[in-house]
Amino acid sequence: MKLLWLNLLSCNGNVHSFLNYPHIEKFLEDFSFIYHPILETSYSLQDIVSQNIDCDILLLDGTLEDGHTKADVDIKTIIEKYGIKAKKIITVGTCASFGGIFLNDEDTKYGLHFRQKLEHNRYKKLKNKTINISGCPIHPEILVNTLYSIKKEYELKLDQYLRPKEFYATTVHNGCTRNEYFEYKIDNHKFGNLEGCMFYDHGCQAPYTNGSCNKILWNEVNSKTRVGHPCMGCTEPTFPKNNLFETKTNMGIPQYLPLGVPKRAYLSLAGVAKAFKIERFEKKLMDN
């Protein structure tokens, strides 16, 4: 299959995250890039914008901005030319999906079909063939396996933000090694410790962020929350929120609750859990 990877306003983090895919040589045997921002390709960016080259999947990486040009051609012209002929379009990362980190107050920057949560119609005719792979950066396994699913013609169910449910139906909280501290509402996390849950004080968004970070580990070895780094919600349209290392609370209750859990259910459960003092969770894991 022929892929076109087009960089817009981006940091190239998705490109480098993709290069972390462990079987990349095999991948490059199964797919070929007509253009890629780093890998050698048979066509240059000049060729891409001036000619009409065969392309099966268009990958867009980065925030779209009005008036932005690539090789002196407006990106809208390029996206429409290749978007219409491609079988599928993938937005690679949160910037191309929702606008991401580089959004400003003006309405001149956006993702392909969304500006944060708001859907827009600038590229309406491309919507029915788009898959959004959000994440800042993308997880290489998620991008690559989505591409293989397209190649093998498996049906990918998408959520309301066009993300494949296969990877975004569960929350990042699933598989976190700190889950017991969450389950039993132990709210004394301190940075620099193996123990504790960052949901209560330190802004962890994992319980209400859709993603697979603790299921498909990063770099095959770890995840942010496992080391004690709060989830910043980077797969969501709202990324980045403000005050990222703090949990916003109302009367001591976290403002954002685990996905789909009503406040009453959360409070009842928390009340019961907090009624018990469980010694194992009060001390360091490695202590005698």
Binding site: C11, E40, P137, F191, W218, V227
Partner: protein, 419 residues
């Protein structure tokens, strides 16, 4: 003649003018900007730890460390454990190492007429990414260094894993890049010995010689490096005369008429930053020998970068052994950052050279933020009477293809430059 330079973590335009068939001037233009400094203004200071790694997908970790140092520098007193300092230095080294491998096999190889070597780029860089993820959770784009230390506790297993990743990369470097033992290589002081050996490094250097371009790409022979740590020394110099007494207050940015990228000078001069500068300031014997024969040409520039890999691999192993696991990873600052009013500077050596962050905070808000990236130093777009480093290196060449090789020998990072 305008040439679009692609695959430099973005694009840039070089507008060449010729006189008597030789390049007389080059105008360097970057056509976009993401205005990160404006995005940061008004944010919670700690949010910069999440925003700033996203300035750059290839050296974002350097941006994280520069950010945390700038924020900590806003304090009059703040205690950071030695353990946290060492781990931060390690992850920064790991990022530099992976950057260098990608540059050799994805950028340099095709420039010299070889096919890109995907495995050569990705195998060692994936190992270094794993080493960062071991303590930082993931790579790219983590924010594991926070004001007061690092978020992760660090166990003895983490140290073992990091050491094993380093050993694996050392083995790869020995087998592929130098076809020799790194310990022997690191004490080598004679470039002729390297040229007569086998492996990808001798192959690259001999190609430069065979194509008769080894002495091309000389600039002003002015070097600067700010980010001193347990390996790199700070200093500036002209040729081999090094002065270690430098102050960041003399670094200034100048707007640029034709480009979104600002020019950077120390006092009134442009300086080269990066592996060659670090090696000249550190007085690395092999690079000094290369400089004696080839000065600050592409030969020395390329050699310095490839030689820095084993230096950092071995040094990283050494500092892992200095970590005291009993020390805390994080010491909660006695004053919360929301009560701090001040300005701070964070400087680190990133793969491509000195990276400077300056922040001003008050009432839990970023009032001002300034970022000076390594590529801004090397690619400053001066005028005919006051050429920037890479402009000087290209002026006088006869062909634009060679000029591209010289230009890319600085390993241009377009995204950093257009922050």
């Amino acid at each position: 003649m305008i040439e679009l330079i692609e695959k430099i973590e973005g694009e840039a335009k070089l507008n060449f003018s010729f006189k008597n068939k030789k390049i007389d001037f080059v105008d360097i233009e970057f056509a976009s900007s993401r205005h990160i400094e404006n995005i940061l203004k008004g944010k919670n200071p700690l949010d910069a730890l999440v925003i700033n790694p996203r300035i750059c997908g290839i050296c974002g970790h350097a941006h994280l460390i520069a950010t945390v140092q700038a924020l900590e520098n806003c304090y009059e007193n703040i205690e950071i454990s030695q353990k946290a300092k060492i781990v931060r230095e390690l992850t920064l080294n790991f990022e530099i190492i992976q950057n260098h491998f990608k540059w050799i096999y994805l950028t340099l190889f095709p420039l010299l007429g070889f096919k890109q070597n995907i495995k050569g780029a990705t195998y060692p860089s994936q190992l270094m990414s794993k080493a960062i993820a071991t303590v930082g959770g993931q790579y790219p784009h983590n924010s594991y260094a926070i004001v007061g230390g690092i978020v992760s506790e660090i166990s003895s297993t983490d140290l073992i894993k990091m050491e094993n990743y380093l050993d694996e990369v050392i083995k790869f470097y020995q087998d592929t890049v130098i076809n020799a033992n790194v310990d022997d290589f690191l004490v080598c002081e004679n470039i002729e010995k390297i040229l007569s050996a086998t492996g990808d490094l001798p192959k690259i250097l001999n190609t430069l010689k065979n194509q008769k371009i080894a002495k091309e790409g000389k600039s002003f022979d002015r070097f600067i490096s700010f980010g001193d740590n347990s390996y790199f020394k700070s200093g500036r110099g002209v040729k081999t005369k090094i002065n270690h007494n430098i102050n960041v207050k003399y670094v200034n940015e100048h707007p640029n008429q034709n480009s979104y990228a600002k020019n950077v000078k120390f006092k009134n001069y442009y300086y080269e930053v990066g592996a060659l500068s670090r090696a000249m300031i550190n007085k690395t014997p092999l690079i000094k020998d290369s400089h004696r024969r080839y000065q600050d040409s592409i030969f020395s520039r390329i050699l310095a970068r490839i030689c820095e890999i084993p230096q950092l691999l071995i040094h990283s192993k050494k500092i892992i052994s200095q970590i005291d696991l009993q020390e805390p990873s994080y010491i909660k600052p006695t004053i919360d950052i929301s009560n701090i009013k001040g300005t701070g500077v964070g400087i680190v050596e990133a793969a491509r050279g000195s990276l400077i962050h300056k922040v001003s905070i008050n009432e839990n808000t970023i009032k001002d933020y300034q970022i000076i990236t390594p590529t801004q130093w090397n690619l400053s777009n001066g005028n005919k009477d006051d050429l920037g480093i890479s402009q000087k290196a290209m002026v006088g060449l006869e062909d634009t293809q060679l000029a591209q090789i010289v230009f890319k020998s600085f390993d241009v990072c377009s995204v950093c430059t257009t922050h």
